[in-house]
């Protein structure tokens, strides 16, 4: 069992994949870390030596923003936009798409599940 960057305990997967379980580290950054520490692709997490685990941990602490810190900085950025009163902030406040997508239809990811319109008649055959 390896604890890297706080709570994350990746299992007996390959290091490259296991690292992506950390919020803020995807395939690209995982590959970056592996090459920098010269860990071979096929190495699994339970085959890592304590020293290697330590070096991974130190590298992530030093060079990458992950987990809580990353979440905080993202939400701070959104909060900044909202407090500023700019267009993007308004869209965040209303829970609508921010980057100019259409809202006539779709946009369900931002708007959530469709709400029924009161009094609209159902079409029956």
């Amino acid at each position: 069992m390896a604890r890297i960057a706080g709570v994350n305990i990746p299992t007996n997967k390959r290091v490259l994949i296991a690292l992506t379980y950390i919020h803020g580290i995807g395939r690209v950054k995982a590959a970056e870390i592996c090459t920098k520490l010269s860990i071979p692709d096929e190495r699994r997490v339970n085959q890592l030596s304590d020293d290697e685990v330590l070096r991974i941990r130190e590298m992530i602490d030093a060079d990458y923003q992950v987990e809580g810190d990353l979440r905080r900085s993202v939400s701070m950025n959104i909060k900044r936009l909202m407090d500023l009163g700019c267009y993007r902030g308004l869209r965040h406040r209303r829970g609508l798409p921010v980057r100019g997508q259409r809202t006539h239809t779709n946009a369900r990811t931002r708007k959530g599940p469709a709400k029924p319109i009161a009094g609209k008649k159902k079409v029956t055959k």
């Binding site: 900044r80 407090d83 500023l84 009163g85 700019c86 267009y87 993007r88 308004l90 319109i117 009161a118 009094g119 609209k120």
Partner: protein
């Protein structure tokens, strides 16, 4: 895609003149501008701009956080009050 750095920030040149003018005169007056596409520069901080939204000049007090945004972002062009509740449907 982001704008190339070597070009510098985009803005309509006459804004600089307008800003200078109001700064040299007795301050805190609204500078009316139509140029919603211009970038807010550091030397606009503290001034008040009236940014046209196609209808009115909305006052925008420039703060430090706004640097790098465009004027148009602070002057919404659409009004939307939400959908009214259908009265007929309520009665049923």
């Amino acid at each position: 895609m982001a704008r190339s750095v070597w070009k510098g920030p985009f803005l309509d040149g006459y804004l600089l003149k307008k800003a200078d003018k109001s700064r040299n005169s007795g301050r805190n007056e609204v500078i009316k501008i139509w140029s919603r596409r211009s970038t807010i520069l550091p030397n606009f901080v503290g001034l008040t701009f009236g940014v046209y939204n196609g209808h009115k000049f909305l006052p925008v007090i420039v703060t430090e956080n706004m640097i790098g945004h465009k004027f148009g972002e602070f002057s919404p062009t659409r009004t939307y009050y939400g959908h009214g509740v259908d009265k007929k449907a309520k009665r049923k």
